[in-house]
Structure formats: C-alpha cells, structure tokens
Symmetry: C2
Amino acid sequence: MDEANYSDGDINTRLVEIADKLTVALDHLIPPANGPEAGLMRAMRHAALANGKRMRPFFVLEAGRLFQADETPLLRAASALECVHTYSLIHDDLPCMDNDDFRRGQPTVHKAFNEATAVLAGDALMTLSFSILADKKTHQDAYIRLKLIDRIAEASGAKGMIGGQMIDMLGAEHVRDLNTITRMHRLKTGALISCALDMGAIIGGASDQEHQALAGFANDLGLAYQITDDLLDATGEADEVGKATGKDEKAGKANFVTLLGIDGARQRVRLLAAQAQQHLAIFQDRAKILSKSVDYILARRH
Amino acid sequence: MDEANYSDGDINTRLVEIADKLTVALDHLIPPANGPEAGLMRAMRHAALANGKRMRPFFVLEAGRLFQADETPLLRAASALECVHTYSLIHDDLPCMDNDDFRRGQPTVHKAFNEATAVLAGDALMTLSFSILADKKTHQDAYIRLKLIDRIAEASGAKGMIGGQMIDMLGAEHVRDLNTITRMHRLKTGALISCALDMGAIIGGASDQEHQALAGFANDLGLAYQITDDLLDATGEADEVGKATGKDEKAGKANFVTLLGIDGARQRVRLLAAQAQQHLAIFQDRAKILSKSVDYILARRH
C-alpha cells in the first residue's frame, strides 16, 4: 500500500498485519521440533506462536518506519524482542511467580506441558533472541547488531524487566509508595516498550534528539498504560475488562488508583497521553500511526 | 611467572589462579545490590561468587593461551560463559527440575532465597552474559564480539545445553539407549565445554584446523568425563565420591556403565582420554597444561 494511505491507515489493520508477519517470522526462527528434546521446541512454539497483540513488534516497526528503514532488519529485531517478551511471560506465569493458568487464550506452558519444560522453554527463547540479533541476516552492519544486543540485554536484565518483576514479587507490604510502584512498572513493562522504539530508531539511524523523543514517548505511554490498567481494575466490570476486577483492592495492594484516587489517576493518564503525543511532534505526519497508538492503547479491551 | 615455568606448572595452582581471577571479575560485572530489587543481585552473587572449580573459564583461558591471546578479553569471555553455566545450575536445581538443596557447599538459590528469586536470578545472569560480550571492553573487534555471542547462544540454546537438560527431564523410560544418552550429555555438558575452548580460540584467532582440533579435544574429554561420573556412581564409595553412589541403578536409569559394563566403560574412558590428548598434538608443548587437565578431570574428587 502506498505511504500516504498507509499513514492515514487504520491502526487495527496495521496491528493485524504486523502480528501476522511476526508469527510467520517466529515460526521460521524457532528450531523445528526434532530429536528427543522435541517437546522443548513444541513448548517454545506453543507460547511464541499464540495469538498475541504484538505491541512491542508494532513499536519496533513503526519507529523504524519513521526513518524509512528496511522491513527485514526491523522484523528480525522485533522477533528477537518478542522472544524476550514471551520468555518473560512463561516465567512470570510459573506457580512460584504469578501462578497463572491461562495466557493469550490458551493454557500457560507449565499447564500445557510441565514446569520444567516451562523454565527451559523460557530460557531457550531468551537465548534464541540473542542468536537472531547476532546473525548477519539481521543487519549488515556489525555495530548495529551489537547495539541491538546491548540494548535488549540492558532493557531486559537485572536493572530492567527482570528487576521490575523482582520488585513485583516482593509483595504488597514492600510496594506501597508512588516511587516504588513507578519504578516497578518502569522496569517491568516500560523498559521493553522503550527498547522496542529504540531498536527501530537504531536500525533507522536516528539522531540523539530523535532517540530522546522516542524515549520520552515510550516512558509516558508506558506509565499511562499502567495507570489505565489500575483504573480498569478499580472501576471496570469484569465482563468488559475480560478478567477479574478489584483484584488489587482485595489483595491489599497499593497501585496508582489507591494512591492518586480515581480522579487523580484519570487526570494523570490524560496528562501523560498529551505528553506522549507531544514527543512525536518532531516527526510530524510520519508519526501518525504511532500517535494513534496512544489512544488505542489507552482505550483498551478491543 | 615466565612461560617456560608456566607450561610445566602445576594444574592445581593454575586452576586456583583462574578461579580467583574469575571471582574478582564476576564481582565487578554483577550490578551492585541497590534499590528495592536488591535481593535479585544478592541472589546472583550468592550463586556466581560461590566457590566453584571454574573449569569452563579454565578452558577459555588455556585455549586462548595457545595463541598468546591477551588475558583481558579471555577473562571477560570466561566470565560471560560462567554466568551462563551458573544460571543453568540455578535453574537445574529448582524443585521442578533436579530439586537440589545444596550446590558448591552452600544452599541452592531457591533454598537461600525463594523459587521466584531463583528463576529471576538465573534469567538475569544469562542476560548479563550477553551484556558482557556485547561491550567493547571485551574485544576491540566487533566481529569477534559477535562471534562470541553467536557461539555462546548456540552452545547454550535449544540445540545445545538447554536441549540436553530437556532430554534429562524426560525421565529414565525415555533415555535408555547409547545414542540418546550420548546426545543428552553432548548437549547438556559437552556443548558448553566445547564453547569454552572455542571462545579462547576465537579470541586467539585460531585457524580452522586449530578450531577443529580443540573441538575434537572437547568432545572426547566431555564424554570421558561423563563416563567417569557414571563409573564413580556404580563403583565408588560414597565417602570418597562425596555424594550418594548407586543413584542411577536405584532409579532404574540407564547410563554408560549399565549399557557398556564396568570394564567396557573403563576401556572407553581410556580410549577417549588418549584421543583427547592426540587432538592437542598440533599445539606441541604449548598445550601441556590442557593435556594435564585430561588426567586431572578423569582422576576426580580432589
């Protein structure tokens, strides 16, 4: 489709298009289920090829499009990032963590297979992510491949996503103030969203100013997303939210709504959404789809 | 110490020297235990700084020495590899896997902390491994850094170490024949030992022939090591072996001794040890310490 139509395009269409491409790419990248260890690859496929929104890949591809970057490196970087996201879901769902039985409309890996397989499938998906990025098929420029590896390791490591999950595991009594809650979310989900936009920008050869604009966008959007989640938990009907509501209140967990109040939280979301949009101003019309994604993400449950 | 003395040196001295350097390096590389997520870093340190033999780092450094490679890149590569080895021990010790309470003379991470922390500390150590390798401090040449990343991801991934652990988890009834058992060990422990030697060779700028010689050495040594382990389990006294013996027989598990017999297994070890030494012939006297490591490893329980 031509660029003008595309920029005005429907975000749902674009999300589905990217999700489809991602699933095809991951199907090629995950090793075939051969040998006595075949169950491992089946578990990796179960988790990675399931029907996900693929928001992080969307951000990689849309950030790259701002700079007219080629789609092949973007898709491979997005696949690597989705491997990391998927591994984190598998491990977070384990009985010793969040103990979830369902994910993306199907049993979690430890339910469909067993716990040992879930630990190993998560480990293998993380490892695969770095294999993908180190491969010269991802980008001809070795420095770009190394930057992508460094960026994803930083975003997903002890001072990124894993650190955020660690804070979440401390329990309600340790996570009570706005600073700690903000840090938890910034690390647990924000770091990988920032990484997604940054990977697109790295592949696109962005300037420092452009990197910073996308980092600001990611930061505000990530936080607004989490506050919206807390608002849905506090005010939504279970039917419309798609999962049990009032969970945090019942568990005695502090969150943005318990700390800011419903009105305060709503105001914060509006402020962050406006700020997120403003960060995109330097990209002008090229960022239309990214800009639309703010409203899409904050008006959840599609 | 000068080169001539060194080559004739005592392998125990060299192992202790390398182990000490590794512990110092890892202490610097693991992030400090700050912030609400500090428990994560404490768990990473608990596992990674514990008293290990550091055989894989030994192989990285000794392979690199064959080519007079600088010690700094070798130590960083060895640290990255030890992070991967340590993460695999943390995850393998989990209750859903081998359910071990002690490791390296201290409680395992899930006993000293908890299961969630053990999963996350393992994940974070793997991630750290790739951060270390992507950093230009590891080697000035970007292609070498990428080769190291690619090699470690391959060796530790679904078609390497993790695949081997997956086979081990299938249980005794699925692992009965020599082919499957050999594959399991080749992946589970052999892949990382090969990787260690190869990382040293990559940093040292080895020729294809030299890479192949070290791969042959690693393959034979890894297998001989495992058969020795099975012999100890079958014939050793618990006191002298340092752990319960006869475990495989009691569990109805097939291993090299149940399949080859004690004499057959001993003969196989001698053959593999001789082959391993022969692979080193092209390096002449430079490989004296590596050559000594064969006897050291096969005469266990020091």
